[in-house]
Symmetry: C2
Subunit: 546 residues, 2 copies
């Protein structure tokens, strides 16, 4: 037996597709667009980024006669894993070698912290080849250290200079790229000569705007989750006796749940942004699912599929109030939670200040969730919202509702949570190509001397040869938000837009999908088959770019 | 958007591969082998099956000149879903049409109960084509009604005669095929003219012997679970901070856990059969995993993968005793569990007769599992062993052990259970081909007038053209076992053999796999690529048939 699987071996040989502009390498002329501003709070952003603010967006024009001196580049993986990270690195590697064969690629180990602590490795072609088209971030590891302090920046500059590193590529989400921009600004102000380029990573899909059509990893992760949801749907309509409640990743945005709902035509797809906009209640959500269960049962279909975004609880206004009140009263009296009986006495909570409305919400939940809310708190005494098993909560509340209101109707639930299953999957052809192109784009931006840019590859609904590569100034995506009591420049998170095409597609179909078992079974990601099977982007991207 | 996925559309066109003997259809001459006996208890089995006992195993020789009158056949899906069931039906359909174009295929709906209640549909070519190479059992549904009573048999015969059905194919596991044989015996004794043929289905892989190299569905299910375990392994060695405890299906045999462990090279793979043979204790299993965590932590690897078979708890001798004692004392005093505090008072249990040894095992478990053991009982008052979340139990016990004995070592757990994700996956090429061949074989056996046989397709390690099709008398696989206080003929369940090649492969490698992160990432099932990626059988089958 070999130490890699047959699929790994076959995929190692895959040559990712690139935009035509890179047909002869990453050497390009820059075509400048109009000067940019910011997403909002223009003056504040300009004041914070005097060196890098207002630069134009750029596109490329191939220039294979261009010569570039050898450049040492370092790459950093920041935050949670997303499929395709290794291909971004492969794109940078091949890109800088195409600029000059003596260029070198370093990787800082274990995330941004590695750049501060000077933990690094050189990525040579043997190492690179072992990771092409693979999932995971294990080539150099990732980490969550934030680069925010001047002392950190100075250390990074010192470490880079020791290795003669002229450019840093930070592969990360909105926060990491915001910090990358602060670092780029600092590097420029210090005349360090170090460029900083970003690559848009997050499976959650919430780093997205007019110039960044998708963050990488979203495509693959959604396809893995949809494969599993499809398999479970097939089981549901074979066994005909279970409602499956399936939670998928997405704490602050519901792009994954929405995409999976569209791919599989689940009976119910919750979208946190809609829950918040309509101020839905927990009881209302439960009653609505139960109503669909009753209608389906009338047709003899005692089964169904509900897709739930991880963060939905925090978008229910009454839950926010309850959690805030609990945090307040438990913080006020740290000994209170110890004195509460396991199924937490609501009278006692009310006597300590819980409002009547929150008490009612609290009482509507099953005992084990109540217990978790009160007992399971973080070191600051706060309720650990992220640890609430939302899929169990909603499933058991629907079951309770059915028992109380429709005891004659068979209703039985199963619940699932998919997270780790998709974060490190080997990238789909789309993500393999997109990530490689992003890496190549980063190399081209470096070759052109650009900094404080996010690598951008657009026109993703078309074949890769027609993709358009370029760079977008990071400041152009920023606004100022209040975080932990201070004004901070941040890249605006892209939530699901309720007037956007993907959500409208759900709305247009969801009544029919709720009632009928129109499931689509996407099946496993394919790499070698017909292009309509192997190379299609997500439904979200297709609808948004239509 | 289409109502089927791009992959579904592409797979609908897939023509499953068949053994060469069927190159011109299912018309065959029978080549008889030696007469058979039984797996054990020969006299009792012969007495129970006077009509069908002792028949020879048969192989086929193509005979395309043979003419067969049209025959109506009915098919039944029995028990849990397994990938490829629809292809068995497609094989029967195409096979009986190849025998005579006027043959008809009926499906009894919702499992064996449909044959008693006369719920059926005709499967015509339009319906059949919509289900080729798809997962699930939804074409006619499945069910768990057992055909055991003479009254049921009479009703089945009446219903079959009304439709002029000359043969029944029961697609099921060991129990369903045992009952199928009893029905075959009855049909023959009654001179009903109705033949009964079985097809070996179960993802658990425990319907297996010298003539049945694999039950269908095992290949696909293991590949889906291994895809997910591989993805999680990649995440583990990227994030470097979690031990993942992953439970997979397999209540009575650990074939799935073993196969997944071999495919992914997990750090620890538990095998229930070994746990029982070595009389391992829960504490011993926990300490052993913790020992591996300590050794890996010394190398800086604070992560790992543990694969756990669903049924392992019931194979731990001390747990069996504990559960038996709890069943006994809770049954003796039904009010006891109500009076127990939630974290169940062990003194109170001991005062009611719990042994000191069981009390010690009981106390070693986390409070939530103790609670479940005592409070969550079936209508007969028995502990619901199958509902114990074994992956959580073992994960939290290892965590507790690490806190108590190695508080200085970072250890953090995640747990997962994969069951529904694989049962209804679209069949791998192997299962698509194998199932279609099994169905075709069933048609050939029917054409040759055989009954009380299990369809057999052998030499599965070779390309499908070299597969050998035939029929094995069901009685030859039976022995007598005590079930619910009565002697019953049953097909012997194939457990993992501790001197078999697959388990030996694990043993030969597990020390190395435990210490090092030699994970293999199998990736998603592929249908269109190189043969070594798309058409390989399981490692279990490859090693067993080597």
């Amino acid at each position: 037996m070999s130490a890699i699987s047959a699929l790994q071996a076959a995929r190692a040989a895959y040559q990712p597709k690139l935009p035509t502009v890179f047909a002869n390498g990453a050497a390009v002329n820059i075509i400048e667009g109009d000067a940019t501003t910011a997403a909002a709070d223009l003056d504040q952003i300009q004041a914070l980024f005097p060196e890098t603010y207002g630069a134009p967006k750029v596109n490329f024009e191939a220039n294979m006669n261009k010569t570039t001196t050898a450049i040492n580049v370092a790459v950093i993986l920041s935050g949670g894993q997303a499929p395709g990270g290794h291909n971004v690195i492969a794109g940078i590697f091949d890109g800088i070698i195409s600029l000059n064969a003596d260029s070198k690629l370093y990787g800082f180990l274990g995330g941004p912290g590695g750049a501060v602590d000077n933990k690094y490795m050189e990525i040579d072609s043997a190492i690179m080849d072992a990771y092409r088209n693979t999932g995971g971030f294990d080539i150099i590891g990732s980490g969550r250290t934030k680069l925010e302090e001047t002392a950190q920046f100075d250390q990074v500059i010192t470490n880079c200079k020791a290795l003669n590193i002229g450019a840093l590529v930070i592969i990360g989400g909105d926060d990491s790229n915001t910090n990358g921009c602060v670092l780029a600004e600092y590097c420029k102000a210090q005349n360090s000569g170090i460029l900083v380029i970003g690559a848009p990573k997050t499976i959650d899909g919430d780093l997205k705007n007019e110039d960044i059509e998708a963050s990488f990893g979203f495509d693959t992760a959604c396809k893995v989750y949809s494969e599993l949801i499809g398999n479970i749907s097939r089981d549901a309509c074979s066994a005909r006796k279970y409602w499956h409640f399936i939670k998928v990743m997405g704490r602050s945005a519901s792009h994954i749940a929405l995409e999976c709902g569209l791919q599989t035509r689940a009976n119910v797809t919750l979208v946190s942004e809609e829950v918040e906009a309509k101020a839905m209640t927990l009881g209302g959500i439960v009653a609505d699912i139960a109503d669909k269960a009753v209608k389906r049962a009338a047709k003899g279909e005692h089964f169904g599929i509900v897709v739930i975004p991880e963060g939905v609880i925090e978008f229910i206004p009454q839950m926010k109030v309850l959690i805030a009140e609990l945090n307040d009263l438990l913080a006020h009296d740290a000994s209170l939670s110890d004195s509460l009986p396991i199924a937490a006495d609501v009278d006692q909570l009310q006597s300590h200040g819980l409002s009547a409305e929150s008490a009612s919400v609290y009482l509507s939940m099953p005992a084990n969730i109540r217990q978790q809310l009160v007992m399971d708190r973080d070191p600051h005494g706060n309720v650990q919202v992220s640890r609430i098993e939302t899929e169990k909560l909603i499933a058991s509340m629907v079951e309770m509702y059915m028992e109380e209101n429709h005891a004659d109707i068979h209703f039985s639930e199963q619940h699932h949570f998919f997270g780790y299953e998709g974060r490190c999957a080997a990238p789909s052809n789309f993500d393999a190509d997109y990530c490689y192109s992003l890496g190549y784009t980063a190399a081209a931006l470096i070759g052109a001397g650009k900094t404080a840019c996010l690598a951008s590859v657009k026109n993703l609904k078309s074949p890769a040869s027609e993709w358009v590569a370029g760079g977008i100034p990071l400041t152009s995506m920023m606004n100022v938000e209040r975080r932990h009591g201070a004004d901070k420049p941040v890249i605006k998170k892209a939530l699901v837009e309720l007037d956007g095409a993907p959500f409208k597609e759900l709305v247009a179909n969801r009544d029919e999908w709720a009632l009928h078992s129109n499931y689509v079974f996407p099946g496993p990601i394919q790499y070698f088959g017909p292009t309509e099977v192997c190379d299609q982007p997500t439904i979200t991207l297709t609808l948004e770019q239509r």
